[in-house]
Amino acid sequence: MNVIEKLVGSLFSDVGVYDAIRVTLCMSVCSTLLSSAIGIALGLALERFSFPGKRIVVRVNRTLMGVPPVVVGLVVYMLIMRRGPLGFLGILFTVRGMILAQTLIITPIICGMTYSYAVKTAPAVRVFARTMGANRRQTSILLVREMKYELYFAMISGFGRSISEVGAVMLVGGNIKGNTRTMTTAIALLKSQGIFHEGLTLGLLLLVMAFVIQCLADFLRREVQEEENY
């Protein structure tokens, strides 16, 4: 461990790269899983239930897919700062605070994508589930299974967003070296020091990591050959 740490660390200026990798992974995986759980549930629920103002909710959701991270960062900051309503949690400048902010950013994305897929898929699945005598829970599970390719893609998109995010994480995490510094905030720091090449190298490392994680995830998924007979 120590050897790798030294090796990776030595490639870069003193920004604490090794810790940044650890923090980045922890944060993006946690927030992706969290917001997948919430986003998929919300997306399916949004498709499932009709209520007045639903169209507005759908549009608000889509709008929130493009909420500027720095705005989310500000909101979370003001919630969890010492004098804020959630100040007692003491999660400002911690990875947990960063996960919270990221979850708020990514959840609308996963929710929106889930909804947009479900609108196409769910009616047929629901009719089928009814004919098979599935109860509500089983119907939801079935729907998720039938949309697994799409939901996986939504999760990958969320993960991409989470690993690349910098605005909210910088504000809420504080970019504290060895603690809440992520690869992206480290890149931003290198950039502000005018050390562009190292920033780029670190960016490349981030992309390679994201690629590898995705390959692993792809590997874990069982793929069925899906040629249809029209």
């Binding site: 009719v127 098979m132 050959q225 899906e226 040629e227 007979n229």
Partner: protein, 244 residues
């Protein structure tokens, strides 16, 4: 004010004054009673409302007005095969055992394989279900509905793309079930000869309502409705179990 008929034969599903509007289409069923343990045939022109009525019975659609009584039939006792079978994005086997899974029953591998073999699908258990040929898809859809022994089944044109041998096999299977442990069937089909052979009662749909109900002979041969007579004139029906 019960009639003798009703006392003798209890119903599985009864629709009373049911109305349902979908787009421009209006379904209006004053009284449609499906007796328990019988095979019912829904016939009628395209767009006359057969599938809509079936969906109402299944609870897939809810009526705008009227009542639909289901006697002793919970959601787990009824099933319907669709005119466009929905197959899971999975293997044939996974599709076939899905209703068992839903009921927490463990499929018996050997039995399932025997069932597949009976309909020529033995080599296809692991094939992606949606890559089956049209007739094979319908067979799978039928087997999936039959595997959990439901007490009320709607078969919505699910024999239409099968070859004559398979159709006969399924007909035998249906009659077999009726001999051993009668359940209630609705068979929607445009193949009048099959319907005539299989069904205890026929219900003729026309423009959103049931024009006539009765035995096969009553509807197909003795009806005085000009519409039914015209409909009938287009297809030859073999009565009894004649061989060509």
């Amino acid at each position: 004010m019960r009639t003798t008929e009703e006392t003798r034969q209890s119903f599985a599903i009864r629709m009373r004054n049911v109305e349902k509007r979908i787009g421009e289409f209006q379904l209006k069923i004053e009284d449609l009673t499906l007796e328990e343990g019988r095979i019912h045939g829904f016939i009628g022109g395209n767009g006359s409302g057969k599938t809509t009525a079936a969906k109402l019975m299944m609870g897939i659609l809810s009526p705008d007005a009227g009542t639909i009584e289901r006697k002793d039939l919970g959601p787990r006792d009824i099933t319907m095969t669709s005119q466009r079978p929905y197959l899971l994005h999975d293997t044939v086997y996974a599709n076939l055992v899905y209703p068992l899974r839903v009921r927490g029953r463990k499929p018996e591998e050997s039995q399932v394989r025997a069932l597949l073999a009976r309909f020529g699908l033995e080599d296809k258990a692991k094939q992606y279900a949606r890559s089956l040929s049209s007739g094979e898809q319908q067979k799978l859809s039928m087997l999936r509905a039959l595997i959990f022994e439901p007490r009320f089944l709607i078969i919505d044109e699910t024999l239409s793309n099968m070859d004559p041998e398979s159709v006969e096999q399924f007909e035998e299977m249906i009659l077999d079930i009726q001999k051993k442990n009668p359940v209630t069937w609705v068979i929607i089909s445009h193949r009048l000869s099959h319907v005539y052979r299989l069904c205890d009662r026929l219900h003729f749909f026309s423009r959103g309502s049931v024009l006539a109900s009765g035995t096969g002979d009553e509807i197909l041969f003795k009806s005085s409705e000009p519409e039914i007579r015209r409909f009938m004139s287009k297809e030859m029906i073999r009565s009894g179990s004649a061989e060509s």
